[in-house]
Symmetry: D2
Subunit: 328 residues, 4 copies
């Protein structure tokens, strides 16, 4: 890749997550630090197609490091899934003299970048931004740590009222395909049971476990459930089942929903975003591309974008055992 | 009421709310300050019936002022609604030498206390503890200010993701019969519309208002809905209606649920709880009873318990107008 | 005052406080609601002198209701204390066709507005914005409730470590002339003693009280001190005194400092700001001026600006008694 | 080590940190899970000397996972530094039939355990609990992540008022020997400069950097300073120096102090505490001892206790470069 990079675009794509603004800030300022121009693309790939660009200097990203959401907005673009859409996007990038782009998002956003690169040889770097932490090649995605704390704070509040009334709460958290949030926030929230997509505990074992928990002297209980749990029932059906089989419990349901996607990012997410943003730009400046920047084993590392897309992020199975022990 | 008070019981009853522990602490310590014995009754009126009592000194309420929930637990007691149940409760109180009790709770709890007093002439003082702020005779109930901040923090997070995606969110908050939470948290959360039980805005006006809001350049919107809103549809039916009539919006629903009942109480709730707890005990010591202690026009005041139960707490209608103006 | 108001300026002046942005938003949008132009003045009276003005429409105040600080910036202006400075300011206002202004700030800011009005007959409305709550004519100033919660959260954290080590902490909070913050946050934080400018408890009584507290079985203690406390020693001298006279305590000092001035405003401050902003503009539109808008006895009220400046805000002395009781 | 472990003691020692309670809970419940007895030792090694023991079952650690501080209290014990003190401690442990202990604390606490082990062959496991993150053999200590977020939240508030007034703030954070907190919280807080013990930037470079920052259009600045920074001046002397050399700035100082040690632990600290607590007990049950349990490269690992004590925790120097770039 002998191309000299003089102008880099940055965009956020897919679901937003806390820390995206901190990453935008880092990309913009790393460009300025290396005397490279930086262009913000609004509304993800859709904005790339529509030419919704704006020059960004270091002062344009003042005071955004602590803001949730993304100042560049995000969107899902059906048009970018078509060759025509990508053609328009490419033409816009060239017309602006943009040499490479950094896309902050999840798997779908990386796939878009990968296809775009295959078609046009356009240098792309991905920064993993999603609360679900379900991306291969990084131990932590941007927004995950913040979402965990949002969930744990909500569970803490729910526990106040649960233990005042000796109730059982089912708390549904995000995670259609991955149990990272449920498993970690469940342990931290002191949940009695945690239902995740990666493991089918079965209804009988759930009820048995709750009965054992009650017998051990616990007066209230919290069960954390990932959206995509494998038990094959939604959270209200679960409630009905337990209502029927454990009449001794007063069961309530709480679905935490979209508040998990917002909020001021934690220190961890801000620092990670800063490090990944710097690395993304400098990787491009070193003439490399088609990587995702991530953090593995305490180090900032590069993973080929196609591996990041194809790979499967694994939960730490040992955490299931830890949860079983500390919820005794 | 010539009886000299030497021993006072305290209980929490009905739904729990942040600040109840601060009120328990104030009751217990005010008793100690005046060299009166204090007895904690567990699980509300049900614990009174079952004799679930414990002596409480000032050190037993250390470090609870900042805890949500209630260390005395709460419950709804069907048995206390029967003459037999109340008879048992009375016998237990007399057996313990208890001369009066302070009940922290809402309307149902006060009604229980009132009937008990009518039957046995037993001195009772009520402290208004509920997040709904729907009690006559006080401008603020314990837990209301905390719940407002919980809701506003959640809306702030939802707004992050709403404005990143140009979405419309329906956020359902507590308030079956009263719009206090929805109205105040809606204004503070910058909601475009607020639907409350006290006012039927109608579906057409809602859609019209949202269209106007969109036309004015707003890219995302939040509508706050009290559980008991008068529009006659639940929040998912509302979503369907808007989906159909405003296809330009991507509509999402978030139901905040029970987390609104928990959490560390705010400064306001802790100070109010302290003041009401002191006043409750001192009112009994002055030989008065059957009052609710509350705060009106910046003053701690007494309202006869039967008036508190019969009266209706009103929302400040001017706030509806303020909301219409500041959401322009 | 028969002048018809068509253009209103808004500025923030003096120390900033959380809620100022919510008030700016309310002023701007109330102007828009009534089809009046609104001009933002940057950096307080200094910006007025320098003509640092910007037109503000409803979309310019999007997403600021939850931001601490002030988007209009603030400053203390020595030049505005001179007739020449005020002359320049007046000329700038007239050149812009501005008919009146709303100033958000404290006593000094109101005094400036008052003198300006006396000299030029220029209509002025004040909105009380200061964390100190030391303004006559309102029970609550903007930012006060937020600052209270900031202080209480800090005390909660300090108590964690205080009780882990059985230590005595002196926590200094803001309040040079007024003990509102110390008194309320002290009660809510469970402080053993509270030292305020309004009352001189004396060193001997402080030590005596701490000894009594220790004797009663308390293992750790927190003493909250307003900057302007009357005991005549600064917080480090106090520590030395107690170190010498109570060697049984391990004494530490924490000065909370400027973080008390910032942060996301609470629900209370945002609603109050919205109500005061609406009232400020509508008061001008009704042809009235030279008032401060405030809240007294649960009602939005007007106080003549000269009274607001001359009057003295009083602490609620009953709270001192409440503190003595609940800290037993 | 052929001894079969049937009874394990747990204590917290040295400065407390958020997450210690979560670790105590994990130790107690892992013992219960493996049908081992668990004894809580109060007030660290001093309580061991005084025989301040209490049996702990799984219900004794209900609802403490989210509490700052330590329910076992902590203390620094001079007596344990003497052979006589340790002899008493040993006798107490043997009298109780205790076979091993888990000590949660920092370097000093580990040294105590190590000497004790050398003298009596008593099995010891250390869990790193300190906000300073200055322990060799673990990437994260308990309480560090929580402290980082406490500091960042404080800086966010200070920035609100800094940018409203165009001020320069020196914010002093904990870290006498290590810059971990300053460096990470400084990056996350958007600090313009960060002064740490590991690097001497010199006064001239500081002033030069601030001048450059001002010239680049930044109107306010935050400099984060670790207690033990190498510049050789305390924070007030720094202020004086900058006051003199940069009269264009209005400089303020904020010392965050002991609030950094308290607070509800973050999700990260609670999960880490749970994992380390489980590992500590199971390591003993496997017949191993004299290790510290920690987390390195995303894995729970054992480090010989003497290495943990002798080793030096290093900051990530790359973070200094990241800070220089993103603060441009």
């Amino acid at each position: 890749m002998s191309l000299e990079i003089k102008k880099i675009a940055v965009l956020t794509s897919g679901g937003d997550s806390p820390g995206m603004n901190a990453a935008i800030r880092a990309v913009v300022r790393t460009c300025a630090f290396h005397n490279i121009e930086c262009i913000g693309v609004y509304r993800g790939y859709q904005g790339m197609i529509e030419g919704d660009f704006r020059e960004m200097g270091p002062r344009d990203v003042n005071n955004i490091i602590n803001k949730g959401g993304t100042i560049l907005k995000s969107a899902r673009s059906k048009e970018f899934m078509t060759p025509e859409g990508r053609k328009k996007a490419y033409n816009n990038l060239k017309a602006q003299g943009i040499d490479a782009f950094v896309v902050i998002g999840g798997n779908g956003s990386f796939t878009g970048g990968l296809i775009f690169n295959e078609e046009y040889g356009f240098p792309v770097i991905g920064i993993p931004g999603t609360i679900d932490n379900d991306i291969y090649g990084t131990s932590f995605t941007l927004g995950y740590d913040t979402a965990l704390n949002t969930v744990v704070e909500a569970i803490d509040k729910i526990r106040d009222t649960a233990s005042s009334h000796n109730r059982l709460f089912f708390v549904e958290v995000m995670g259609r395909d991955a149990g990272h949030i449920a498993l970690n926030a469940g342990i931290a929230g002191g949940a009695e049971e945690i239902l995740i997509p990666e493991e089918d505990m079965g209804l009988d074992r759930l009820v048995e476990s709750l009965k054992k928990s009650k017998a051990s002297g616990k007066l209230s209980s919290i069960v954390v459930i990932a959206e995509g749990d494998k038990i094959g029932k939604n959270v209200f059906e679960l409630k009905d089942y337990v209502d029927e089989n454990m009449p001794e419990y007063d069961v309530r349901v709480s679905i935490l929903g979209h508040m998990q996607r917002g909020g001021t990012p934690t220190c961890f997410d801000r620092v990670l975003a800063s490090r990944l943003g710097v690395k993304a730009v400098e990787t491009l400046l070193e003439g490399q591309s088609n990587y995702m920047v991530g953090v593995l084993k305490d180090e900032i590392v590069l993973t080929p974008l196609d591996l990041a897309v194809k790979g499967k992020s694994q939960i730490d199975k040992e955490l299931i055992r830890v949860s079983d022990i500390v919820s005794i």
